[in-house]
Amino acid sequence: MGPAPAGTQLRGAAGELEVMESILKVTGKEGKKQSSKSHTVPGSPVEGLLKPVKLSQAELYKEPTSEELNRLRETESLFHSSLLRLQVEELLKEVRLSEKKKERIDAFLQEVNQRIMRVPSTPETELTDQAWLPAGVQVPLHQVPYTVKGCFRFLPPAQVTVVGSYLLGTCIRPDINVDIALTMPREILQDKDGLNQRYFRKRALYLAHLAHHLAQDPLFGSVCFSYTNGCHLKPSLLLRPHGKDERLVTVRLHPCPPPDFFRLCRLLPSKNNVRSAWYRGHSPPGDGSSEPPTPHYNTWILQDTALESHVQLLSTVLGSALGLKDGVALLKVWLRQRELDKGLGGFSGFLVSMLVAFLVSTRKIHTTMSGYQVLRSVLQFLATTDLTVNGINLCLSSDPSLPALADFHRTFPVVFLDSSGHLNLCADVTASTYHQVQHEARLSMMLLDSKAEDGFQLLLMTPKPMIRAFDHILHLCPLSRLQAACHRLKLWPELQDNGGDYVSAALGPLTTLLEQGLGSRLQLLAHSRPPVSEWAISQDPPKHRESGTLTLGLLLRPEGLASVLELGPEADQPEATDFRQFWGSRSELRRFQDGAIREAVVWEAVSMFQKRLIPHQVVTHLLAIHADIPDTCVHYMGGLLDALIQGLKETSSTGEEALAAAVRCYDDLSRLLWGLEGLPLTVSAVQGAHPVLRYTEVFPPTPVWPAYSFHEQLRERASLLPRPDKPCPAYVEPMTVVCHLEGSGQWPQEAEAIRRVRAAFQLRLAELLTQQHGLQCRATATHTDVLKDGFVFRIRVAYQREPQILKEMRSPEGMISLRDTPASFRLEKDTRHLPLLTSALHGLQQQHPAFSGVARLAKRWVRAQLLGEGFTDESLDLVAAALFLHPEPFTPPSSPQVGFLRFLFLVSTFDWKNNPLIVNLNSELTVEEQVEIRSGFLGTRAQLPVMVIITPQDRKSSIWTQDGPSPQILQQLVLLAAEALPVLEKQLMDPRGPGDIRTVFRPPLDMYDVLIRLSPRHIPRHRQAVDSPAASFCRGLLSEPGSSSLMPVLGYDPPQLYLAQLRKAFGELALFFYDQHGGEVIGVLWNPTSFRPQHFKASNTKGHMVVSQSGESVIVPNIEAILEDFAILGEGLVQTVEARSERWTV
């Protein structure tokens, strides 16, 4: 009996703790297997829950051993804390290669070496004659132009050397690469091979021949080509072992020239090695001496010559220093989490290793340092040193023949010279990539310095994909447009230098262009690096345009976003021409208030929503006029989700303005209250306590002007009533305002009497507001509703001492003690905590203009998933606030989109079971206090709700989550968020357009046992639905301000009334889910525990019936009658009740 236990995750037949456990399961897929195993062990302690540590006195105070003391001392001096030390050790264990695997790899390498040496040689042919190449293998290089002088023959390599991180022991899992340098014998190469890509052609042919022979070998599971670090002139051959070791290792073969083959002076950054006559078919105008330099081309040759010397340098530095190796491994993890290490111009692991070597040589790092200290020192160095201005040099000799650093600065954006003094290691790194590295380093240093957070998690374990790190994202697609852009930007020399790779040629100039255009709006611009593709040896190498898309990420500066004006120089200044040229037709002369006549650009933007998207206008405009990229090729992902928080018929705003209007109206009202004359006690404070007044109401209220003919009129009470023959009138939710009165000893000291006096105040307030300001008011015992400018406020008079009086308990000895009671708790929440929270979040909105959007989008999503009623408004607002107050490792979001993605990430990954979410509003909690809260949390975990949110005002009890969510609901939210995040990110990262962005907002309905479909006629907020209906019912509103002598219908929402009845009557039998924003369906889930037949008890017969089962009479829920009750209780509202009987066969 009872519903089938399999199926939805929501059914929590198990106890609370078990469900809490499953919350964690989602966080790691691997963890799932483990904890499901633990399910089978009965009586085992709950896994995954931290318990306060209990050590016996003897254990705590025993004499320490010297070993223990040493370790403690070491931890203190080398690491931040013992936790960090343990975490770092664990992480390294996870990413390090095990000895066993190393042995297997070594054996494989031996084999590879032998096979390579056995590849047969070929007779000499012209480079252009490639007929000797067997069918089934293609040259892994774009041979444009095809004709090139020189001869080629294949000879086995003169030397096969392992280079790179594998040898150093700094390679990290999961993808282990072993780089092997194949020194080509001198006979293959000829003089002047450095010219016109001849060396690269030979290199490619060399690989092609190798590939053909190795591919036939059964030793290899796969043989394919790839580009070395994404460089299109330098293919490499990837070998993977056959069979189960296929994923174990990738061996990359890099042919390289014999040592001292190329003369270094020919490869200086100022030298040309690709002749225009050859490359472009004609010489540059003028004499032959003005050939453009080819710095990148030269660097790529140099890189090949220096492979071995770099490895030698690194092995002498890192050699025996374990700490340094740990440090390099940590840095690699750090880079990888930030997606900085891949592709052409990435800040690769090799670069950081060299950086560590540099810091050792300048004595900033010592070989005895721990991995953590190395990480810290390198980050510190990166954060403070701008290599785009002050390059660094590993070369110690002061040979005057060496090129000067300044020469390199002229040609390369980022300069870091190797020990030869000729090779710029950062040649391919663009300025924006380096700035991104610097930005990340700075953020990380800040994080490491603040002691409050778990730095390790945020620094090394949290991935920072572009979509989640940047406020706005734009894709340039198709990439072939960039070829035209190169021509428009006159980048022919760069193309020549890059061997025709127009993507990397255009990248630098484009980013500079946009950086200049976005100016003060921009904090950081980053670009994705084209991914390094792999292709089968029988295929042609991928074209440049096939290298995916170019994605740019914009990190916006919120202060800069507010302005719509781009102020240029005065019209008569010489810079004015530049300005005009830069902005093209958008630049216009304007006269300003101070009398100056200046060039200026003004963007059309009125609302916050439009202002946030000015960067979109800037980007499309600049790309169109300067780079010939039409706006159809720019796919801007910035405000796509905003449509979900746009009100009815509003397309130009996301409601920030409407919210501000409501807040202004509230300010006016509070002024009226302050100045009210004739109250027995004067008003001492007016505080807002409604989501609107902290900018987090999903759909902001609009002024209401009800059409009287649509309503029934109750003249003597000055009120409108809904009419049975009309559709439900518009939903008007009064905004709660708490009004404190000055202290007085005249208040009675008894709860009942206080309520009467408060009621008297409410009446008096209504009377005075009507008399003195002509406002329409309606008083009840607990509040006064005031209609002002179309907004309705609900004023609640509060008496400061009332909660205390409700708490007072008198012990038999006459001692008065204070104990929380439900009533006092509620009152305190409403009159003390809620106003405090509202004002704090109101302040947060002033600091971070995107807060409103993020909080509303988050709330909208939770509600759209039908879980809205499981969470209090405030708890969701606080989670959103946490994204702004504790953004680490990110920066505070400046657009709703990125904020929402991070909300999903936070919800799906946060370990609610073992951690409180600390929201440090106004930074009132000190670091020590936070640490104390965290440690205190473990001790009291069992008494706290499943979701614990701590604020400075509420350090112990987590008031906003006391009544929910239940463990099941929270788990469901975690699950949904974990599913929604990748879907949404994939949509946003898809350059062809996001498709239907509302997908993640549609709830899955198949998990519910019963669906109650409602009639739209009686859903007042029907138009707010995620998929807004094309037509809905008239809700009796005038579009023009009308008379305000009658109070509109307040808070009348039939679905809510219906739900309240359902929950009251059947709350023990089922859970009800509904989206308050225009949901047309109520999902019902039966509670499996209540379906077990029980013995008759007078207290739990509700909705049950007695049946005799095997001679015994037991009670079970009377489902048929209950289903009919659903329809009866919601008569007129309910359309159908769909029971999916197969799911709940009793």
């Binding site: 483990q34 996870e94 009446l763 009557a1065 066969t1145």
Partner: protein
């Protein structure tokens, strides 16, 4: 089982409705249209000897599982054929005492949303109870002659009812406060009278209103006193004076570190179990 149950119902309709021992089951429906019915489980209200109950013996019918749409009036109408009904009381839970006689103020105690309730029906004569127990049903809550509102119509009328008359509220508040003020004044007068007057054993009661007020007897106040004492003592104490004190501080520090270390180890263990160390 729904299907199964239906089959069984079809097979032996005459068998009678199963009911718990001591109760009789009476089917109740909202209206004719409803197919399935809920069951009222009724019995005579009885209490064990020695228990106090204010419900009249013999004449009171105890009804369980009253559906939410069934109101007091409705229940009274449905049961009146069994005999004249004196009163009907609907409650959340079975409760032995009759609720306070005076009606609650509609201003200060809004009616809660009803769920399934229990009812105490007091008949004027004892034979009403036995007649009720023999009812066959099904009882109909809403009939054409006495329609009961539900759904939209109910909410509409509820909304109309919630718009109250402020004048009535004022009158109620005033009358309550008058009574209250009188009570307080009486108490004060009595306290004043007693002040300074020793009782038969010679004790004088000292209150906050006395000429020399004393500390209020609250927990907070006594805690404050204790705190003050403690601080006073702490000021006098010498730290790091004796060698053993020094040693102990060091040991304490070590113990703290050890405890922290253990905690961290536990955390790490947990994270390892969850594979939290796999960075990507």
């Amino acid at each position: 089982m729904v299907a199964r149950r239906r089959k069984r119902a079809a097979r032996d309709p005459q068998e009678g409705i199963p009911s718990p021992p001591g109760y009789s089951a009476v089917p109740i429906k909202f209206s004719e249209k409803q197919q399935a019915s809920h069951y009222l489980y009724m019995r005579e209200h009885r209490v064990r000897e020695g228990t106090n109950s204010s419900w009249p013996q013999k004449r009171t019918l105890f009804v369980l599982n009253v559906p939410p749409y069934c109101t007091t009036e409705c229940l009274s109408r449905l049961l009146s054929p069994c005999g004249p009904v004196q009163s009907v009381e609907l409650q959340e839970k079975p409760d032995l005492t009759e609720s306070a006689k005076e009606p609650k103020s509609k201003f200060f105690h809004p009616r809660p949303v009803p769920g399934f309730q229990v009812a105490y029906v007091v008949f004027q004569k004892p034979n009403g109870v036995s007649a009720a127990l023999a009812l066959k049903g099904p009882l109909l809550v809403s009939t054409e002659s006495h329609p009961v509102k539900s759904g939209i119509h109910k909410w509409l009328s509820d909304y109309a009812d919630s718009v109250l008359d402020p004048e009535a509220l004022r009158v109620e508040v005033d009358s309550f406060m008058e009574v209250y003020d009188k009570k307080i004044a009486e108490e004060e007068a009595k306290a004043k009278e007693e002040e300074g007057v020793p009782d038969e054993e010679g004790w004088v009661k000292v209150t906050r209103r006395s000429r020399r007020p004393v500390l209020p007897r609250t927990e907070a106040a006594s805690l404050r006193v204790l705190e003050r004492e403690k601080r006073k003592r702490a000021r006098k104490e010498l730290l790091n004076f004796y060698a053993w004190q020094h040693r102990e501080t060091k040991m304490e520090h070590l113990a703290q570190l050890r405890k922290k270390f253990e905690e961290d180890k536990q955390r790490i263990e947990l994270m390892r179990a969850q594979r939290r160390f796999r960075p990507y």
